[in-house]
Symmetry: C2
Subunit: 232 residues, 2 copies
Amino acid sequence: MYQAAKQLAAQRAVELVSHGMCVGLGTGSTAALFIEELGKAIASGALTDITGVPTSIDSQRLATQHGIPLADLSNGFYCDLTIDGADEIDPQLELIKGLGGALLREKVVAQNSRRVVIIADASKRVARLGTKSPLPVEVLPFARGVVEKHFAQQGLRPKPRLKPDGRILHTDNGNIILDCSIDHVTDIRQLAKDVTGRAGVVGHGLFIGLADLAIIADLGGQVELLSRMSCG
Amino acid sequence: MYQAAKQLAAQRAVELVSHGMCVGLGTGSTAALFIEELGKAIASGALTDITGVPTSIDSQRLATQHGIPLADLSNGFYCDLTIDGADEIDPQLELIKGLGGALLREKVVAQNSRRVVIIADASKRVARLGTKSPLPVEVLPFARGVVEKHFAQQGLRPKPRLKPDGRILHTDNGNIILDCSIDHVTDIRQLAKDVTGRAGVVGHGLFIGLADLAIIADLGGQVELLSRMSCG
């Protein structure tokens, strides 16, 4: 039902892209719409000399389908702009991401971008992170048992993410994801540090201080901009 | 030339194992000698009801060859004792590990052990970490370029680890290793935090506060014990 709102946010994001930019390409349903729109703008000649940095195998495939030239990552990269979705956005522009399973690459790209813009429908706004979404934590398969036990002791109720067929999902990096409940956690920054410090954890979906702007569209066609400069 | 010293340290370590223990099995040439010695003690009946937790595919294979029953890790594990080698040991019992390429699993096992004992020959003692060994940092293949560039800017002179045939080495987890020069770094703890916080880094070889005891044997057959309690 949020398709039109996602589409609107994606279209607005394309307006931020200029000729010659290296653009980080997010993962997920809203980011996919952006990739399509970007492809159209390239095909029509409205944008030229664009290179994309995909954040997942899915976004790589989609970008290729839509004729977006991809950057060679072997010597490092730096994106002028990254456009990505989010699962939750709080009033301070902090995010939960990674329900699409690509959180590690998404964070690498965001950390290596001059500007990170999040596109989302209004259902992704929350007063507090963890209200609707679990926190995805990417874990080495070898460490699954110990990390799961540790998180359970911390009250995070970890659940291994499954594929539709009921088997354990593996990420593009061959790891598993533990979805954790963090709705009771008051200090999100401390939580991010604690989770990062645990051996066997290779990444988590808290994106703290990374987004610069969110373009949030609602069902009525209204677009709200939330920028880091203006948020409280 | 240190073979006899390594052997001596490994034999001493076996004396720390008791019936019924769950034992973390390190990776590398010295840890391999311990696995052999432990296997002998089990075969002779000197030790019973031992389960091992291997820190790499290599140590798993070796443990199986030497008849050490392995723990089922799926529900988590907790080792009574872990015996592992190290590449460098400083006077505070902080370590560089991971030249064997198994640093992530080694750290997971160490963090989930009641007691961690390091066995080494005397050549591994250094006044300051990074003197002889590089710091191995395990990195997502996707992020290699950006992380390499970042570390180079920090003066860490990262070098991708190669296999003997000259191609890039991949770890058991499918990642690559950047060997970094840290001999000029004065604040090792801060370095560990900085490296950990970089997206794309999945682990590093600094083992801070993890070892409880080091058994260090020299060429003359002398054994020195360095324990966390006693170090300055």
